[in-house]
Amino acid sequence: MKKNKKNEVAKSKKFNRRDLIIGASSIGAISLASKNVLSEEANPENLPPNLPEWTQYLGDGVDINPYGMPSEFEGHVIRRNVEWLTASAESSVNFTPLQDLEGIVTPNGLCFERHHGGVAVINPQDFRLMINGLVDREMIFTLDDLKRFPQTNKFYFLECAANGGMEWRGSQLNGCQYTFGMVHNVQYTGVKLSDLILETGLKEKAKWVLAEGSDSSGMTRSIPIEKILDDCIIAWAMNGEALRPEQGYPARLVVPGWEGNMWVKWIRRLEFGDKPYLTREETSKYTDLLTNGKARMFTWVMDAKSVITSPSPEKPILSKGLHQLRGLAWSGRGKIKRVDVSIDGGKNWKTAQLHSPVLSKSLTRFTLPFEWNGEELLLQSRAIDETNYVQPTIDELQKIRGVNSIYHNNSIATWLVSKNGKVDNVRLG
């Protein structure tokens, strides 16, 4: 009901400011596609020496928005999908609007979604996590049980292995969001699997874990026991609140630094076994086909990567003079050590400033001030992680992997800044 009303308001193209406020507050939620509003010039009546209306009249009270929403003027900051990519929206993906975000935390409502059978709706009372197979005791835990274990709180990035997958053969999608947006970074609260296992015991032969989701795709992945014992978590909260339904409410698996597909959402079962299970998602999908027809299997780690979020195709340069180039870098192998930025297509590089906190397997923010005087630029960023791995060029990747890998494209992207300030995703060669 609310949704329909909201759409009606959003559809009416010509609304004045007062209508907008009334319409929005009457439905108790304000999230409108405000692109038009944003692109308008400032209203001189609101500028000095005049008195704007918000300075004179009362605004909303504390009873209007029990769960707060972003400003109506931020309505363009949304997840977006590419309709032609998939056959059905229930088995599809959308993208995080990285170009509009600051710092390293992704707001929960903007974390990209990837489902294989739609969003499962689970009453937490009906949640059960089963642990079976090569354990001393096959057990079942409720959500309340999980919350009584010692707690861990950690920031981790989650990146889909197919992030940038459309760009293997050339620049295809003209946006930071569409080419890099299958990544998000939140603080997880949960229980370490190494603690859960203390409760079930582990048989000596247990070498692999099958993680299984309870959604209608029954998502399953095999994970080696070393990783499970190292840093995997069953999480029930993100950024301080319960997991969002689309992120696996009420509980999901967290596999730090490894490809997002393994972070099974709506988790229902962990089975310990002596061999991998070779499920659909680790054979048919998430294997990297090379030019000789052979494919790499079990390519779990997400290698170091970075992206300039502004300027970017969605964030043109609007004026000459000083600007702050902004970007994000991350590595599944540890901390980001350094990020270099080039404005001439990779001929010359300058080291950007990293902003704290710089955390292991987490997004890291970088900035670099620059002067723009209307000249053409070829912007690139390259991340170096603490293992001294340097983010490669697409040429370097293609030489080894060809163009049919789909997954694990962590190459350096190029944004062309034209003389009019517009920015394009381009391929150099």
Binding site: S216, T283, N292, L428
Partner: protein
């Protein structure tokens, strides 16, 4: 339990009382936190549906491609085509043999998937799309047999079952490389070129020209 020394006995009593103090419910054996319930055999059986390449976990049942044609036409063909050729953006299930090293590889369940068990596991747990776990075991074997038959892997009258699903030889069984060779690019070891680097800065493609980027309405 090994024989208790005097100090061992003290430790035992101490830890015993600590467990009572913290858990305050039943006396834990070697469970550290005493949380959760022991799962019954029935509970595990209801959820433990995975089938491994060696056939472990395959439920008792069987089916042939001959008997599977009908159920395939009924619940699969609308999306995957009468002959497993796919429809719209729904994936093909068969065909594509010999294409994996080409410019346009067709990765189908018969050309690419290394194990027949995976086809069974996936269909039983996730198909038909939107009606997961609605097929019987026999129906699932029938559909898997029909797909393998379309891919010329088994004969039409071959009886696929829990006994032999772990032994079906898939064409691309040896098509996979392990372990992961990455990091596969370590040219500069953390010390890349910083100035006057020899790179091509010629623009050879623009996403704008491809024109497939969605636009905000």
């Amino acid at each position: 339990m090994e024989r208790l020394t005097m100090s061992g006995l003290v430790k035992f009593i101490l830890s015993f009382s600590l467990i009572i103090f913290f858990a305050n419910t039943t006396i834990a054996s070697d469970r550290k936190f005493n949380l959760g319930q022991i799962a019954t055999i029935e509970e595990v059986a209801g959820w433990d549906i995975d089938v491994r390449p060696d056939g472990l976990g395959a439920p008792i049942g069987s089916g042939t491609a001959f008997s599977g044609e009908e159920i395939y036409a009924e619940v699969c063909a609308a999306c995957h085509g009468d002959f497993g050729e796919g429809a719209d953006r729904w994936p093909p299930l068969a065909g594509g043999e010999g294409t994996l090293a080409s410019h346009d590889p067709e990765k189908t369940s018969t050309s690419y998937w290394p194990y027949a068990s995976t086809i069974f596991d996936y269909i039983y747990r996730a198909m038909p799309y939107g009606e997961a776990q609605s097929l019987s075991y026999d129906e699932t074997y029938e559909i898997v047999a029909y797909i393998l038959y379309m891919g010329d892997i088994i004969e039409e009258d071959f009886v696929l079952s829990d006994k032999n699903i772990g032994q079906i030889e898939m064409p691309n069984r040896d098509g996979f490389i392990l372990p992961d060779p990455r990091p596969d690019i370590m040219n500069t070891h953390g010390d890349p070129c910083m100035s006057n680097c020899k790179v091509s800065t010629k623009i050879i493609g623009k996403a704008r020209d491809i024109d497939v980027t969605p636009e905000d309405e």
